[in-house]
Every structure is written in C-alpha cells, then in structure tokens.
Assembly symmetry: C2
Homo-oligomer: 347 residues x 2
C-alpha cells in the first residue's frame, strides 16, 4: 500500500536492537489521520530523512537525547506539505520541514515547523541534506570547531555523504587541501571529480594508514570525525600539533555491543591529546548551534545559488523501505544523502 | 660535595629509562665553570624545579619537545643568581629564572632569562611554583580552556601539588565548587583546610568512582586533567554535557611501557565526547600561552599580595638528590611543589 488520504502508515519501535537493527525491531501500523489542535499543523510526509543518529535513539543507553519509547513512532526529520493548518502562518499546500517521524501524516506544533520558501522550493528534499541538518552540521563543525586556515590539510570520512561532502567543499572554499575517505573506488572517484576533493582514499583497500600518510605529507590539521573506528586509528598518528577534531558522530560504533578486546588505547588517545595539544570537541548541531542557523542558511544559500556547492541524493521510494535503508546508512551502502520518498510532491 | 665556586656538578642523561627512571639513567659529572659570551649570563643555581614533564624528555618517543640527548644535561627550570653578565640588563647578584638544567652553573642567553624583581624577591623559589610555570599552567588551563562558571563543579587531581592546588584555589575565587583528589588522608585534609577545597578524596582508598559521584551530586563541569589513569576513569562517567577537560599532563602514564590489556576503551572515550559534547584540549603552557604570561603575572601577583593564594613547597637539599626526587614526583610522594635547593641564597 502506498500513501493515501485516509490512512496513516507509521513505523513504531517494537523492540530495541542488539547490534544492527533487524526487521523485528520495527512494526508497521495503520491508524486514522491525527487531528491538529489550535496552533498545530497536520502534515503529509513527502520526503523522510534517514540519518545515523537514529540508531542511537533506538537504544536506551544514556545519550544526548532521550530514546524513542517502545511503541512510539520512530523519530526523523521530514519535508512535508501542510494538509490542515490551525496556525495563521501556514496554509494548506505549504512546504515545511519538521520532525514528523517515520509516518505518512504527523501533527506538529506550528512553531516547530520551518516553512520552505523562495529558492528552497526548487528542490524541497535538499532541506534534509545540504540545506538542512547535515549541511548545518558540516558548516558549524568545520568552521567553528575545526577553524580551517588556508593551506591546511582537512580530512573527512563518509566523503560522499551529506556531511562529509559538504565539509570537503567548504574546506576547499576556505583554501584548504582536502583528503576524503570513502567506501569503494566509485565513491572516491566521485568525491574528487564531483565534489572537488584533492584526493579520496578507499577505506576498504589495504594499508589505509600508509596511503593516508602519503596523501597528507604535511600531516592533518583538521579531522572532521563522523565515523570513528579504523579511520580514526589511521588519522590519529598523522594529526599535527594543534590539530582540531570536531566530532559529530562515530557511525562505525553505533551497532557495537561491546568494546573490542586487546590493548586499552584510552591512554594512547589522552597522551596524544597532550603531546600534540589536540582539541577534540563533540557537538550536537541544533543543541549547540541552533542560534546560528540563520547565519548558516544565508551563507549556504549564497554558495548554493552561486553553484559553489554540489550535492548528491540517494532517494529510495516507499516508506516500507525505511528500516532496511537505515541499515544501509549505518553500513555506508548509500551513495549520497539517503532520503525516503514517502509520498508524491503534488498536493 | 656541595656547591662551590670552581666546579660545576651536573647530571647528564646516561641512558633512557624503561619504566620508572633508575640511578643508572643519570650520570653525575664535574666540569669547569662554563664561560658566557656576549649577550649571555653565567648563572649559579639556587633552586632547581623538578616537574613531571621531565620524564617525557628522558624518552625519545615523539613528543611536543625534543628529548634530552644522551650525554646532555638534564633540562629543568631554576632560580639562580647572576655570577657574570655579558648583557647590559643584568648584573652580578641579580636573581633570575631560566632553564639552567640540573647543574650548579649554567650559561644562558640573557634574553631567555627573566629577572626577579619587587615582591618576587621575598620568596624566590615561588618563581618555580605558584608564581611560575606550574601556576601559569593552572591559570591558563583552568580559565582559558576550562572556562569555569560560578556554581559549577571543578575537579582536579594532585590537589596539593603546585598545579592542582592552584587550579582549586582559582576555581574557588571564581565561585565554583571544588573537589580535589590526592594520595592519602593527610594531603586530602590539607587540600580542604589549607587550600580551601570543598572536598578532597583519597585516590588510594576504595571505590573512588562512587565517592566522587557522591561528592559531585550535580556532576562535573570542568575536569582539569594532570594525572590520567584511574582518576580519569572515575571522572569520565560523571562529566556533564558540555564539560571541559583541559589536559596538561597524564603523570600516571609517564612510566608506562605498554598499554594495559583488556578492552579497548578508545571508542568509549570518543563516544562520550560525542554524547556529552565534551571539549578535551591538550596544552603546553609556554608554547600555547607564552604571549599571555604578563596577564598571568599581574593577576597572580595581585591575588598573592592580597593573601588569596596559598602554596606549599617541598624543598629537598642537595643536587645529588634530584634523581630520586624526580621519582617521588612521578609517584606522588612529594607533598607540595618539589624544589631542589642546589646552593645557598646568599651571594
């Protein structure tokens, strides 16, 4: 069944995953359409964003945000059209971005919805990528924590993803040398040819550490951390004195159920922080930088209008494919910003 | 033999330590007095500072400063008197602070020596402690990286040492709750009674993690890291969202020859940095903050003159005791800033 005007399909969290999420962790329910109260909107989801952070919300381990409760709709940002408005600032047919979750219809408070206007209407799904949360993450993490200077070397993984691709492009705009890391030759070629990275290394091939060293003969000044694991291991020895490491995610660890056995390298990291005088700083984009969203939106819109920013989307049709697609995101099988098209664009 | 006017006793690095330094790593030599060239000073050491960083210089592992070469004099800051001056700004008898190293006499470039004047002459050895490098380390690390706000909880280990004791006192001046950690009941009592800490916990007693949790019911906002190891392990789970961790040393690790076996907790740390949005930043005081020394000197002198800052020194007589005393510093056996009195104060 596809989206229609009388039934709300929704994915709720049925159980908490151990390791990678499986089909049984989700339950597809069908309900009546919810009704908006005063100050609320009824939204029809057109595009649903799938992002690595969602794995964290499926777990009840302590984190920066409360977990999704069992039986609750999976969280997620979406681009939607207003079906019914009980707020004077919105009318039926408006395009908005809001936290609708994994479902066809959502009721949200109007003050938590952002209307898409002007150029943003040309390509509404970009509000979930380069012009939205992932773009904002790349922009603030790189510029505010990473503080790249012209001539410095910036490294970022998931180089064809929405965050990594933008980190690299902004770093190039700032005059840096940019080395990406991605999974597979095709993505690496794309990062160089389409996104303008100076180099891009396949983390699936052997000797990542040695190849990264050769690609960064002057060391690494900024490592934008979004994956962790083997990439971080390769980066750490190459970080220069006073290097900055903005840290927005450790995707490689999200499905981990226990710590790896072997040497305890915690002190290896703290010793490196001391000897190299590193700055490693985690951030959660809207919590830490929400007040600077207008600055991002203005700058990114300008760059985008001037054709200085490229993007790539990976659009999957149908809400029913969301659970499997989330696993693709966690495993890096997507190629570009993964978006689920839940319903048609037209009213 | 004690200091005299014709022989220069000096400790050179004879071999590199494996684990804790041993007597054979040092060689006591006797030479003629060196001669200053134009722009240089001949200095007679009165007080020699022993500090944990010296262990790092004995190793040839990559670090922020080059190692002491085999056969070279051990590095170290000292308070000395000018014996002979080939620079117009200094005259015999002046008190100076300089990097004289572990020896009776040193020739240094006048521009690398700092003259002690005014109140600093009342207690010259403090230029190696609260009014010198350790004090500067505490001041900049706490205020510039830690950014403590009134009402926040600040934790620091080595609470009766020159850095830790000052971190706690400055944090109290800024209106924070201060919890120290030290080795043994006597030091803990002293941290509270003499330095004004709110609480101080003995890391040698059982259940440090639980006791620290009870001492910090609102969590930890700033952890000034100078020891690492078990203290860091106890602190990490208690760090609040947006906590800051200035990192100037990991003394507990300096003698480590290999990483501990067991789980690899590197990702535990990076995940905590993400989830709690931590800022962990290493710093080397004069490299990173040398340009702000005047600010420190002015503020600290004011506090000191107003009796707002307490100190404790642990003075050991005789250059010959330097090697064993360095081990005491690394093991926390000193009680207060360890200073070797190498020669008499009087000219």
């Amino acid at each position: 069944m596809s989206q229609n005007s009388t039934v709300n399909r929704r994915f709720v969290l049925a159980s908490r995953p151990k390791g990678a999420p499986v089909a049984e962790n989700f339950r597809l329910e069908e309900t009546d359409l919810p009704k908006p109260a005063d100050g609320q909107l009824l939204l029809r989801t057109v595009y649903l964003s799938l992002d690595p952070y969602m794995r964290g919300r499926m777990s009840d381990a302590p984190s920066y945000a409360p977990p999704v409760a069992l039986g609750d709709v999976m969280v997620g940002g979406a681009v939607s059209r207003v079906v019914e408005s009980k707020d004077a600032h919105f009318k039926p047919g408006d395009w908005v971005v809001a936290g609708s979750g994994w479902q066809d219809y959502a009721v949200v408070d109007a003050k938590l919805a952002r209307k898409l206007e002007g150029d943003a209407l040309k390509h509404p799904s970009l509000a979930l990528g380069v012009l939205g949360m992932p773009g904002f993450t790349a922009y603030m993490g790189l510029l505010d924590i990473g503080e790249p200077k012209a001539g410095e070397t910036v490294v970022v993984a998931a180089a064809t993803g929405p965050v990594g691709s933008l980190v690299g492009q902004i770093a190039k705009l700032k005059g840096c040398k940019v080395v990406g890391i991605a999974g597979g030759e095709e993505k690496c070629r794309y990062a160089v040819e389409h996104f303008g990275f100076d180099e891009c290394l396949d983390h699936r091939a052997a000797n990542l550490g040695q190849r990264l060293k050769e690609a960064c003969p002057r060391g690494i000044d900024v490592y934008f951390e979004n994956v962790g694991g083997a990439v971080f291991d390769a980066v750490l020895p190459l970080l220069n004195t006073k290097a900055r490491v903005p840290l927005c995610g450790v995707v490689s660890q999200y499905n981990a159920q226990e710590l790896p056995k072997g040497e305890d390298r915690l002190t290896l990291l703290t010793t490196a922080i001391l000897k190299k005088r590193l700055r490693i700083q985690g951030f959660i984009i809207f919590d830490d930088y929400g007040h600077r969203y207008p600055e991002f939106a203005k700058q990114m819109s300008e760059w985008f209008a001037a054709d200085k920013i490229k993007f790539r989307e990976h659009i999957v049709q149908g809400l029913e494919n969301a659970p499997a697609s989330l696993n693709d995101v966690l495993e890096g099988k997507n190629f570009g910003k993964l978006v689920i098209q839940v319903g048609k664009e037209a009213e």
